[in-house]
Symmetry: C2
Subunit: 363 residues, 2 copies
């Protein structure tokens, strides 16, 4: 999505965009390998239509790298307190690099023992959780990816930000013809973007979506946007987010309970985000062939259910995003002038000159 | 809760009730040990105020035992396809016995490797998921308890029952002074009981709770009660329930995708419910002392948040139920005449005579 409604939209070629992003991060001191990982995850989010976790975040990541509160060359320390468990101290590296390493550790343990867990401390915002799920399923593994986050949602019964709107993320490989299950959902009722859209349209929002800045229930989208979003299903979303505070914060040694740094507001200190990743072999209890056939059956039966709306196909978690990705790989990622200007500016800041025209699809 | 509003309420002593329930199941051929487990889990649900999963279910369990579609003396088969993974074939035993065994296997693996997983096939309705979470935290472990269930909720986009309203269940030990986290939540918007209550009061229900029997959105509680309940947060609850179909059904060899037997409607065949239980040591990445202190901090900070309603304390997942349990252990479980009559009748069916007066608290 372009940043500003009404401006011209350009179709950007994903591989070229990835390279441009990687160049910017190399310019900030990352190794070529790490910079490529950052480029891949950020562009993957834009490909899947999750623009909030794509290149629109480059400016904050680079600002924090310049300030030294995120380290370009972290010394990631991995220990194995038990055979199927790894602890990863991210040394304030970019979350992409740290979480990716944790996923590799969880998978290595799962390969040997059937299931593995990696706990992470001293990490930073890791972007779109689905990126790690996709890596796991590509390697043939199912995975849970948990993170905590800076406070933006009240605990159930509270009225000030305490919990993160941390995503609950689970992925499992697909069957022979069926797609993987990629469930990556915020634990809030709605994303703040929906409240912003209602505000722009001058529409009311349903009770239960958000509180205003004074902690009162509101249906006024403008007041809600100044306030805080509420947890999904009340105590349920609050409980899921608290669970991630335990898994990703309390257990791992990372910050927790309202103390994870906000990458925008707390620019003078590391975030100390925590993650927990659990990976396991989906064919553990049978064989890979049986698993795939049964997944095909599950998806086929689900798709075959009578529909609420005949014109709306029944889709598996992650399928809408996969469809968008296929479309954008073929026809380009729609970016606005402001996005392209931001890329050129970020490149210039590290002494590079990017010809943004050369990023366009079909050039 | 007594079964019928308006009838007399008796305060029943929990340990005596447990023994009475165990006697009934022994009378149906269960070993003394297994019968005690069933009594404990059922009464635990009533103690915690989860009456839908307590002794009110005895009649269906005993009916299925009599019909032979649930086996009183199952030959539970456990295999270990990988070091930290166990497969449990429940041989159509009562879900309590089978799931309890699976939890033990997951914990045994976690003790050795840090984390363990047990997949279960050929099981039956396992009651309240929180029961197993409580066992896990008592043993010092954190756990996920997943199950699939007979169809009662549409997949997102569908309008007929396909998924179970399977609970998402996670538990973690508490700190030195703080309670454990016991998160046990249905993946539907609301329990059907809430729709029934609205119907009885003649109140409308909010859009989005349920569909009528024709698959149309409805705010009429009566029509909704004849229809089906919708998933929590739309695609989110549907995604969580689908996830459990993969974890508990596709992976384990159990039924899945709409084919788990309904214990009430399909009385002539086994249910083939599946479960997946993952257990791990919460102090994996530090020490037990640090974990407990950090849990205390998390809970204390959460409780200290400014409240939405000054009179409503902020509670952790599972705290309301734990409070109810303490109260009911002290003052008895409120049961109605119909509940006591049911107990006497079930006892009589196995040739026992229960003096229900002797079950009352203070007798």
């Amino acid at each position: 999505m372009p940043s500003n409604a009404g401006e011209a939209v350009f179709s950007v070629d994903a591989p070229r965009l990835e390279n441009a992003v990687a160049d910017i991060f190399r310019g900030l001191g990352l190794s070529a390998e790490d910079a490529a990982i950052v480029g891949r995850y950020l562009v993957l989010a834009d490909l899947r239509g999750v623009g909030t976790h794509g290149i629109s975040r480059i400016a904050i990541y680079t600002d924090r790298l310049r300030r030294g509160v995120v380290r370009a060359r972290p010394e990631i320390r991995v220990t194995h307190p038990m055979p199927a468990a790894a602890h990863v101290d991210g040394d304030d590296g970019l979350g992409f690099i740290v979480a990716r390493r944790a996923l590799e550790e969880a998978i290595a343990a799962a390969e040997k023992y059937g299931i593995g867990i990696a706990g992470v401390s001293n990490s930073t915002h890791f972007g779109m959780a689905a990126g790690y799920l996709l890596d796991a399923v590509e390697a043939g593994y199912a995975a849970f990816v948990f993170t905590n986050a800076s406070p933006s949602m009240p605990v159930w019964g509270g009225r000030t930000p305490f919990l993160g709107t941390s995503p609950f993320a689970f992925g499992a490989p697909g069957g022979n013809g069926s797609p993987p299950i990629i469930l990556d959902m915020a634990t809030s009722v709605v994303a703040r973007g929906k409240i912003r859209r209602a505000m722009q349209k001058g529409e009311a929002i349903p009770t239960g979506w958000a509180l205003d800045a004074e902690g009162r229930q509101t249906t006024d989208a403008g007041r809600a946007y100044e306030g805080i979003v509420l947890p999904l299903g009340g105590p349920k979303g609050s409980g899921l987010s608290l669970m991630m505070e335990v898994l990703a914060g309390v257990m791992t040694g990372a910050a927790f309970g309202g103390q994870v740094g906000d990458q925008y507001r707390d620019r003078d200190r590391p975030q100390n985000v925590g993650h927990s990743i659990i990976a396991f072999r989906p064919e553990l209890f049978g064989d890979a062939c049986a698993y795939r056939t049964r997944m095909d059956d599950l998806v086929e039966r689900a798709r075959g259910c009578p529909r609420l709306d005949e014109d709306q196909p029944i889709l598996m978690p992650g399928e809408p995003e996969a469809g968008r990705m296929a479309e954008r790989l073929a026809h380009g990622i729609p970016l606005g002038e402001a996005d392209l200007a931001m890329l050129a500016e970020q490149a210039a800041l590290v002494g590079l000159s990017i010809d943004t025209n050369a990023l366009l699809k079909g050039q």
